[in-house]
Amino acid sequence: MSIRQGLLALLSEQPMYGAQLRSEFERRTGGTWPLNVGQVYTTLGRLQRDGLVEAAGDADDEGRITYGLTEAGRGEVATWFTTTVDRESDPRDELTIKLALGVTLPGVDIVAIIQAQRAATVAHLQDLTRLKRDALAGGDLPWELVLERSIFTAEAQVRWLDHVESRVRRAAAAASATVPVADVDHEMQESRA
């Protein structure tokens, strides 16, 4: 599922052909999820069948076809970034890829994505904690331990999201701080002149 969404997200930036998509996907997700080019083309074929991508022109000299998003494809990318990850569908990987791609793409409000996910995970933690209170009251130790496992996983996800948010905000602050420095240089040159 995430390969499909990941390729669509990459194509929202610019049209690409299969091998480009593969290397961009691997580069931007830190190589945590290696893809083979066959997987990429199979996925592109399905996306084309579903009306989410289309060929952006004829094949080039080497026979490569560049794909771009359709309107429906753009809608799908927007939906992916604004929908929280279903816990049942291996949240770690999809969330990791969503955030890794989110920080590299323009127009994605990464802090809002992090907050939505954090709220969803804390709400889940609240449910788990209620169940744990019942388990404690009923002396159901095995169930309590199973619940604790989920509680630790959810807690770890929130801590990781906190960390990502701090890191992203620090990076944004550093990026905006470089602008005044350039201005200062400019002013200094002017005053010297």
Binding site: R118, V122, A123, Q126, L128, R130, R133, D134, L136, E155
Partner: protein, 246 residues
């Protein structure tokens, strides 16, 4: 279900420090209600306004805009003495650093706020023992703080915060100085105490502890960006047996 008595209400509360180019907006237009029987957690990173929110709720600081009411009485607009009187009658605090007076026993620590308020010593002692019993600490009433574990001291602090007529508990990272399991036990005590007729506002950066609350409020840059409720539907579905999917 009947409407529960609202013990803390904040409406459009803002707190600005300084003015002009050095102005810092610590809190902006916060609305918050905590009713009897409710535990509300506030989460946010350092500098998000958590402590400011708690200080305003407890009348330790005054908002630059908006209103704070405790048990229906306005905290805003009162004199310093007026705020102190309302605080003593209605509000109790629990801090991270287990700040009991070392030369007083558990019961004396708990009865002290009542005695300072002019309650007779015997009545104050009786109320203190009652409050200690609420946190399962009546047996250790005559122990000094250094004869108790960190978790036991924090239970005494909760008993002190809610002794006598006080029903609004403000807790600032109450588990910060405790190990994970003891911290968890303190949350269980806090939860039980609130269920029995108090209102709690808990500031924490730990999701596992915030999860004991009925609602979790997220602050960022002084603004409430989200509020979550425990969805009783999910709990019911999960608790109803069958395959226990998480």
């Amino acid at each position: 279900m009947t409407e529960r008595h609202v013990l803390l209400e904040m409406r459009g509360v803002s707190r600005v420090h300084g003015h002009g180019p050095t102005e810092v907006r610590a809190l902006s237009g916060v609305d918050l209600r905590v009713a009897e029987g409710e535990l509300v957690a506030v989460m946010g990173q350092s500098g998000s306004g958590k402590s400011t929110l708690l200080n305003l709720a407890g009348g330790l600081d005054t908002p630059t805009a908006g209103e704070v009411e405790v048990e229906g009485a306005a905290l805003t607009g009162r004199s310093v003495a007026g705020r102190a009187a309302l605080r003593r009658r209605s509000i109790g605090y629990v801090f991270q650093d287990l700040n009991l007076i070392p030369t007083l026993t558990a019961a004396e620590n708990v009865s002290l706020p009542l005695e300072l308020d002019g309650v007779r010593r015997s009545k104050a002692r009786k109320d203190a023992i009652h409050s200690l019993a609420d946190v399962a600490m009546a047996d250790l009433a005559d122990r000094f703080p250094d004869e108790m574990s960190g978790g036991q001291q924090q239970r005494v602090a909760i008993a002190r915060a809610l002794v006598g007529p006080r029903r609004l508990l403000l807790a600032d990272e109450p588990t910060g100085a405790l190990d994970s399991e003891t911290g968890e036990a303190i949350l269980a005590v806090l939860r039980k105490r609130v269920d029995r007729g108090a209102a709690g506002l808990l500031v924490t950066h730990e999701a596992r502890h915030a999860a004991w609350a009925d609602r979790v409020v997220f602050l960022r840059d002084g603004v409430v960006v989200d509020t979550t409720d425990a969805s009783s539907d999910t709990s019911a579905a999960l608790a109803a047996g069958g395959p226990r999917h998480l």
